[in-house]
Structure formats: C-alpha cells, structure tokens
C-alpha cells in the first residue's frame, strides 16, 4: 500500500530540499569569500596607514598611528596585531609574536595569509613600503577571525532564512495543490466504496478527470461481463427450475392418479402418499432456491431512485398467521398476534415480507416439542418496524445461534422435511431490505425470541 499523495509530495519536495542544500553550501562559501574580502581590505587599509606613517618618519619607530586601528569596529572584540620589519627581517615596531610573511615582498606589494598569534587564528596582510632612503620595510597587520566569522554567519543566515521561507511556501502550495487535484480521485473512490455490495450498476463517467477514464472503462466493462455471466446463470437457474417443476408436476399427476385408483391397496396408497410428500418437499426446496436467486437478482439490479412498493406490515403478518393457523392447530400450538401497530408502512415487496414472516412462524411452530405457544408482535421501534416472534419451544443452543443463518445449516439434523434454507432466506431478505435480525432466548431464558427490524418508509412509495 502506498499513497499517491505522499509519493507525489516526496517527489516534489525532496528535489527541492536537495537544491536548497546545494545552494546553501554555495551561499556559505560566497559568504566566506565576502567576509574575507572585507577583512582583507580593512587590514590592507590599516597596513598602508602604518606604512605611510613609517615612510613619513623615515623608518623610525614612533609607534603605530591610532588612525590605523580606528578602521576596525570593536563589536566582536577582535584583537589586532601589527609588526613592522626591515628588509632584513628585523622587527622595527609592533608585536614579535606576529610571524614574518613567508615571502617578504618587494616594493609596494600586498600579500595576505593566515597565521596564528598566541594560538589564535588570525588573518595577516603584509604590505611592503619603500623608504625615501632606498630602504624597505614590510608592515604586517593581523586580526583575529571573530569578526570575519560573525559577518560570514550573518550573510549565510540571511540567505538561509529566505530559503526556509521559500520551502515553507512550496510545502503549503503542495498540500493545497494535492488536495485540490486529487479530490476527483478521492470522490471517485468514495463513490465506488458507497456502492451496494453486489451492485452491477455502471459507473457514471461524467465529471471525472481524463486520467480516471481507463479505470472507469475497465470497471464498467467488468460489470457488463459479470452481468452477462450472472444473467446466463439466472437463465440457467430459471430453466432448470422450469424443467424440475414440470417433472414434479408429472410425478404429482401420476401419484394423484395412482391414489385415486380403486385397485390400490392401503399399503400401496401409503407408499404413494409418502412419495407425494417427498415431491412436495422437493418443490419447496426448488421454490426456496428460486427465492434466494430472486433476492440476489433484486439486489444486483436495484436502482436506488426507483419507487419501491409500499406494504402494510400488519396486513402481511395477519394473513401469514391465518395461513399457518391449521398447521399450528395440527402441532397443538397456540398462535396469536399480541400487539399490532396497523400504521407501519414498509418500502418492501409484500411477497418478501411474507417470506420472512412465514419462515419464522413456520419454524417456530415446527420446532415446538409438544404443546406451546407462539406470539407475534408488530410494533414501532424508532425509525424501524419491529417484528417479534416469541415461542415457548426448546430454543436454539447458543453454539448454533451464529450459524443458523447459513445455507443448508441445520441445528437439528435429525429433523425431517427441513433443508436449512428457511432462515438463510430470512436473513438475506433482511439484508436486502437494510433490516436486521436477532435471535436469542425468550422470556426467562426459555424458548426463542426472534426480532426483525426493518426500516420504515420515509419517502413516498408506490401502492402495491
């Protein structure tokens, strides 16, 4: 994982930093040169004053004139030394600690070099002066390096500060520019992230920078191919289901015919009835698989702005309870609607709500060991409709609770006529309706309580 932003930032900022560093080195050296030049000029000026004074005095040692040292500003507490030597190197005046110039010049020549006086580095300027009597003296003036260093530092810092300000400006501009130019990319990735899982919608290529077009093109191409594959798969499922149903229809007709035949013995009749029951179960599985396929299909082709059908939850629940009443009677289960808020409107197709309710109540009845009761409640819970189904059956062991929503998972594999699809259908419908389902123990830890929360209609929807 790497971020485009940081990459871009690094590749813009690093070269700038290197340039700056090189420039600072160059600046340091030129500051040094300037400071040296200034110092040299001062020392030379001072040496000339002394030399001219000496020449005027005819080579006598009368001490250096004060004017020679007024040139040096004293703010850095630099020390100044001077020495006047005759042509043969004899010290005429000044400080003996000052070493003689390495090559004593002739005539009015100036040379400068670095030296040390009492272990302190100094810069020395030597200035030759011819006397009127034909003699020659050499004047050396030396100054410690503090002033030089201070000037160099001041010059260097001035430039460095400018560099820092420039770098800061570039950094700010870079951040702003990155934010601004990369925003379409961020928007795009957000749009992709916000798509419903499994959505096969085409991505909109409007208002997207040219650089992203290949990505969108590739994604859309992929979606088209996936859609084609899935459509082929759906057609396959539909035609398989069609053939299976037709075969089952023939089988059912044959069984019906056989059972009506008067020559059939009771034993044969029982066998035919058992076969018929198997056919009914097989049909149920086909239907359940088809429902799963249709939920998947609905999810993939869901257009967000499409007007959804409007369904009254209490109406659906009541009709399911009526439908299941004979089953409850057969299982000796008391079935009832304990609370019913008749004003709860959901934006969901009624056949999906029916499927949820039917599967849950059917499950509750069939998993009851012996007589018991199943209570259904339809009520409002905030922005959601709450469908609560409580039974007094054996409940589901906590170990199974996490897995009961998996396809073909059965908490009780010994149970006949169950394929473990009902609850997974319920779960997938809940997910597709942006609802949630929770299962837990009922009152006082006994039985099973199932809570289904489905979002209530907030916008206008179509009457189904």
């Amino acid at each position: 994982m790497h971020s485009l932003k940081s990459r871009l930032a690094v590749w813009v900022f690093l070269p700038m930093l290197v340039c700056s560093a090189i420039d600072l080195v160059v600046t340091y050296r030129s500051a040094d040169r300037v400071a040296t030049e200034v110092q040299r000029q001062l020392l030379k000026g001072s040496a000339r004053i002394i030399a001219e004074q000496m020449a005027a005095d005819g080579g006598a040692s009368n001490g250096a004139p004060p004017a020679a040292f007024e040139l040096f500003a004293d703010e850095n507490q630099d020390r100044v030394f001077y020495a006047v030597r005759s042509a043969d190197g004899r010290l005429i005046d000044g400080d003996a600690a000052l070493a003689p110039p390495p090559s004593p010049g002739l005539g009015e020549q100036e040379s400068h070099f670095k030296s040390r006086v009492r272990d302190e580095p100094v810069r020395v300027v030597a200035y030759g002066q011819d006397l009127r009597d034909g003699g020659h003296i050499s004047v050396e003036v030396a100054q410690t390096m503090r002033g030089h260093a201070a000037l160099r530092k001041r010059l260097f810092l001035m430039t460095a500060r400018e560099h820092l300000i420039l770098l800061a400006l570039v950094l700010v501009a870079l951040v702003v520019a990155l934010r601004w130019t990369l925003r379409p990319l961020m928007c795009f990735s957000e749009r992709v992230a916000q798509r419903q899982p499994g959505s096969l919608e085409q991505l909109d290529a409007d208002a997207v920078p040219r650089e992203l077009m290949p990505v969108i093109g590739a994604l859309n191409g992929y979606v088209v191919r996936l859609d084609q594959t899935l459509s082929a798969y759906e057609r396959f499922v539909a035609s398989t289901a069609h053939h299976l149903r037709t075969s089952f229809a023939i089988l059912t007709s044959q069984l019906n015919y056989g059972m009506r035949d008067e020559r059939v013995t009771p034993e044969q009749k029982a066998l035919l009835a058992a076969m018929q029951n198997t056919t009914v179960q097989g049909t149920k599985v086909i239907n359940q698989l088809l429902i799963l396929a249709s939920i998947e299909q609905a999810r993939q082709h869901a257009a967000p702005d499409q007007a959804s059908p409007c369904t009254l939850l209490s109406e659906t629940v009541t009709s399911v309870i009526e439908e299941l009443a004979p089953l409850a009677q057969r299982y000796d289960v008391e079935l009832g609607l304990d609370a019913s808020d008749d004003g709860l409107v959901l934006s969901a197709p009624s056949h999906l709500l029916r499927e949820i309710t039917f599967n849950l109540i059917d499950n509750a009845i069939k998993h009851m060991d012996g007589p018991g009761s199943v209570s259904v409640r339809v009520q409002r819970a905030g922005d959601c409709a709450l469908l609560r189904i409580i039974d007094t059956g054996p409940g589901i062991a906590p170990a199974h609770l996490d897995r009961v929503f998996e396809r073909f998972y059965r908490a009780n594999p010994g149970k006949l006529n169950s394929f473990g699809l009902g609850l997974s259908i319920v779960k997938e419908i809940c997910d597709s309706l942006q609802g949630e389902i929770r299962m837990g123990a009922g009152d006082q830890g006994k039985g099973l309580q199932v809570d289904v929360r489905l979002p209530l209609v907030l916008v206008e929807c179509q009457q189904d």
């Binding site: 289901a241 069609h242 037709t246 229809a249 009541t318 009526e322 009443a325 079935l335 009832g336 609607l337």
Partner: protein, 223 residues
C-alpha cells in the same frame, strides 16, 4: 364439461388428461399454441388450461389473441414460472386464475370448479370448507351429507365464520353477526358458542381455530 388442455409436455398432458377424465371432464389436448389456436377457431370449450411456455405461439400471445377476439372463455394458467410479477402480469392479460406447477389435482379441480361457477354467472348457493357444506337457500349445514344440528345462535356464528373461511373474524365482528337475533352477546357467551360448535364439529375435518389477538377462523384441517 369440455376443457382444452394446452401443454407442450406430452407426459404431463397425458397424465392430467387421465386425472381430469377420472373426474368427469372431457379433455382435448393441444401441444402447441398453434394447435390450440386452430382448435379454438372451430370448437368451443367451457374452460382452457393454458401453459405459458409453448413452442411457436406462446401462451401469452394465445391469451392476448383470444381476448382481442372477444372470446371470454375462462382461462386457468398453469405455469412453472411463478414469480409474483408473472402472476400479476398474466391476470392483467385476461387470465382468470393462475396455478403454479407442480400442483395437486385437488387444488386444480377446486380452482376449475370456482372458475366454471363464476363463468356460468350462477352464484352457487353452496359454500364449503372441507367436509362442511352450507346451502344458503335451505340454510342447512351438512358434514359429509349429514345434517349438522345447530341452535340459531350457533348457526349464526358458524355462518359468519364460513363466509370468511380461511380468514379470521374478530370477536366484535362475530358478536355483531348475532345482533340480528336481537341479542346482546357478551364475549363470555361468544366463547360458550364457540366451545359448543367445536364439539359438534369434532371429527368433521373442520376446526374453529383461535388466533390470539385476531379472533376466530374456520379452517379445514387434516383429520
């Protein structure tokens, strides 16, 4: 009664024909839409059983053609596609009823009977639930042809339940059905009538089911 069975699967067609013959219907078979179309030009039928996925001329096309010709013969669609959308679509096209494959012959015959009854314009005075039959002309309840003796109040309650068979009737609504007898019925009294009715209906394959919070419902049960 003469039926036209339009079904491209020959096996299914053969077996359905045998079953319907058993029940006393005369059945003619068509294995394609074209064939059915030809037969419909020359023959008249009391009802058509129509499969949707037919070769050449599809069931939808046949139905549309039939209705556009002003032929109002009752059509019962039998199809292996049974999404809710399909059902609504075909009922809108002019089908009278819809049955998804596979179906039980009893279901098919029940649908056929009600279809034929509606078509004959004769509101059958006979209302049934399982083995319980009520003749609204003679006002007599019968269980398997045996007259069910009822008091006037029991009669009123059972009639109210039978008129909404398979649906719940709330206690207040049920109490209202007794008002015509100039009775003020307390909920307690209503329960007494229900208990008595249940006793009389024992073994009939019909039961009055209590649905807590909803009311009472009459339903055929497996004995």
């Amino acid at each position: 009664m003469k039926l036209l069975l339009t079904e491209d699967n020959r096996d299914l067609s053969v077996w359905l024909t045998r079953l319907l013959n058993q029940s006393g219907y005369a059945v003619e078979q068509a294995f394609s839409g074209e064939e059915a179309d030809l037969l419909l030009r020359t023959q008249s039928y009391d009802a058509i059983l129509l499969d949707l996925t037919l070769p050449m001329l599809s069931g939808q096309m046949l139905l549309r053609r039939l209705r556009s010709q002003g032929n109002g013969v009752p059509v019962l669609i039998i199809s292996a596609q049974d999404s809710l959308q399909d059902i609504v679509e075909h009922l809108n096209l002019g089908a009278d009823d819809y049955l998804a494959k596979p179906f039980d012959i009893q279901e098919l015959e029940a649908r056929l009977r009600s279809l034929l009854r509606r078509a004959s314009g004769n509101t059958n005075p006979l209302v049934s639930c399982g083995n319980l039959h009520y003749d609204s002309n003679s006002k007599i309840f019968r269980v398997r042809d045996q007259v069910l003796p009822l008091t006037p109040r029991e009669h009123a309650v059972l009639e109210a339940l039978l008129r909404k068979v398979g649906k719940t009737v709330s206690k207040p609504d049920l109490a209202d059905s007794l008002v015509i007898l100039n009775d003020m019925v307390t909920p307690k009294a209503l329960e007494v009538y229900i208990v008595r009715l249940r006793k009389k209906l024992e073994g009939s394959g019909v039961a009055i089911i209590t649905l807590r919070g909803l009311g009472y419902m009459l339903s055929a049960i497996e004995a």
